[in-house]
């Protein structure tokens, strides 16, 4: 936070648009970003679940890796199955460190002979340095400093985007293609961070404002800020780096084992592989879980989780109010023997022990497009 006070905040190519639409700007990962617009977090959240929301996620890092054996090269830094990615398909994975901890989480798309990566804003400089240091010399990196990233999320996203880019409605979930949207060249990926169907559109900076305005002019679409982006992803059970994931949590502890293929579990070959393989075989001492408080009080990040005898068993890493759930929801880490769904725990909120249950995530059904 300190360096944010000293360094001027960066602006995304959609800064003027945020202002025009009444965005309430806050510092986030070094950028001046809209936390909400005039309608507020609740309405923006619910609108995304019922129709469609447009999010500026241009602060995230976008880059290409290319060169012979690029998939095998990236696999030395991530536990995800990159080699097996079919052209135009994408995957979620993590950069791990030598103790199996997570340096960042990212999306990797196979695009021709290259890989297209989307990384977190707060981690992008460190990720780029990490790759430059550890990937073979012949692997080239092209950082897309001149590209914005616009997310269109919600059940109406496909019907809206189809008007601007015929064919997108038929795209598979977790696939990506270069195509013309509203007359400009874009990379369209069917993915997102809300639990809904939707797209992320990578577009050149100069074309980004007009594309965003064109999408916002659709009656189904409302601009949505970071506040609702956070409550949407929390309801969808998705992790936020720096909160639910960090260098001290492994993908196994974080319940992200689904993102590591059988081959990679067996063969390893990524930083921290021995530790991660041992955790797969023997289990972990703590695990990421969902939590449903019984009352109305939200239990936010940092809240102590205690067992019903009052002994601390973990901590909340994300928590707040779930507008679609209609009540408080949290996620956090607890010791392995308290991680079963239905386990009764208490959350220490303002000195009071509030009863809660370990719950399965997502808190709302995921509604990804399944064709």
């Amino acid at each position: 936070m300190d360096d944010q006070d000293r360094t001027p905040l960066k602006r995304t190519p959609l800064f003027a648009l945020h202002d025009r639409h009444g965005g309430k700007m806050v510092p986030f990962a070094g950028y001046d970003m809209p936390v909400q617009y005039g309608s507020g977090v609740l309405k923006e959240h619910l609108h995304t679940r019922s129709e469609a929301g447009l999010f500026d996620v241009s602060h995230m890092g976008q880059l290409y890796l290319h060169g012979e054996g690029v998939a095998a090269a990236l696999e030395t830094l991530v536990p995800g199955e990159i080699h097996g990615l079919a052209p135009g398909r994408m995957r979620y994975t993590q950069f791990t460190n030598d103790s199996g901890g997570i340096l960042d989480d990212l999306m990797v798309t196979k695009s021709g002979d290259s890989l297209f990566l989307v990384i977190n804003a707060a981690c992008k400089e460190a990720d780029i340095a990490h790759m430059q240091e550890n990937l073979p010399q012949h692997i080239g990196m092209e950082i897309l400093d001149d590209a914005a990233l616009i997310a269109l999320q919600g059940p109406a996203a496909a019907v809206v985007l189809e008007r601007f880019a015929p064919g997108v409605a038929a795209m598979k979930f977790m696939s990506s293609a270069a195509m013309t949207v509203n007359g400009v060249e874009c990379i369209v990926s069917r993915c997102g961070y809300t639990g809904e169907d939707g797209y992320e559109i990578s577009v050149e900076v100069r074309d980004a404002p007009s594309l965003a305005e064109a999408l916002l002019a659709a009656p189904e679409v409302m601009p949505v800020g970071l506040g609702a982006r956070d409550s949407l992803r929390l309801e969808a059970g998705l992790c936020l780096y720096g909160h639910d994931l960090d260098t001290t949590t492994t993908p196994v502890e974080a319940d992200l084992l689904w993102s590591i293929s059988k081959r990679r579990r067996q063969d390893g070959g990524f930083p921290g592989d021995a530790i991660i393989q041992q955790q797969i075989a023997e289990g972990t001492t703590r695990k990421r879980i969902g939590l449903l408080p019984e009352g109305r009080a939200p239990a936010r990040e940092g809240t102590e989780i205690v067992d019903r005898e009052g002994k601390q068993i973990g901590v909340v890493t994300s928590g707040g109010f779930g507008p679609s759930v209609g009540g408080p929801i949290s996620m956090g880490y607890v010791t392995g023997d308290s991680a079963a769904v239905g386990t009764a725990v208490s959350l220490m909120v303002r000195g009071k022990a509030l009863p809660a249950q370990v719950a399965s995530t997502p808190f709302v059904p995921q509604r990804y497009y399944r064709g």
Binding site: Q36, V41, S231, G320, P328
Partner: protein, 124 residues
């Protein structure tokens, strides 16, 4: 005759006889954003000016609400527990939090009147 005063923490307090009604200002609800939870004090609680009295949580964060005047809680607006959004809709009316029975209204002298509060908010 009623007199409304404001604190620097954005509570308002209205005196009617020996009862003080307390809530948060429209400016405060606007800053907080959508309010999703309120923790109101117990009836009968004796509070001194500046004591923690209630907690409101918006989609963004939790905020403490302080007693703007010394008194004893005689009524709370418990409809807010089921409909905390009322605070956003009408912070300075139907969204009142609690009523205190007060004996010493001299404490109000160190609070702002409406004009002073509006000037205070403008500088924020």
């Amino acid at each position: 005759m009623s007199d409304i005063r404001y604190t620097e923490d954005h509570e308002w307090v209205r005196i009617d006889g020996d009862t003080a009604t307390v809530g948060i200002t429209d400016y405060a609800q606007e800053q907080l954003g959508d309010i999703v939870f309120i923790d109101l004090p117990e009836i009968g609680a004796a509070l001194a000016q500046g004591d923690d009295a209630a907690v409101v949580e918006s989609v963004k964060a939790a905020s403490d609400i302080y007693a703007p005047i010394t008194g004893e809680i005689e009524e709370v607006n418990d409809t807010l527990e089921g409909e905390p959004g009322r605070i956003n809709e009408d912070a300075e009316g139907e969204g009142w939090f609690f009523r205190l029975s007060v004996s010493d209204t001299a404490e109000l002298d160190n609070l702002m009147d409406e004009e002073a509060y509006q000037a205070f908010v403008k500088k924020l």
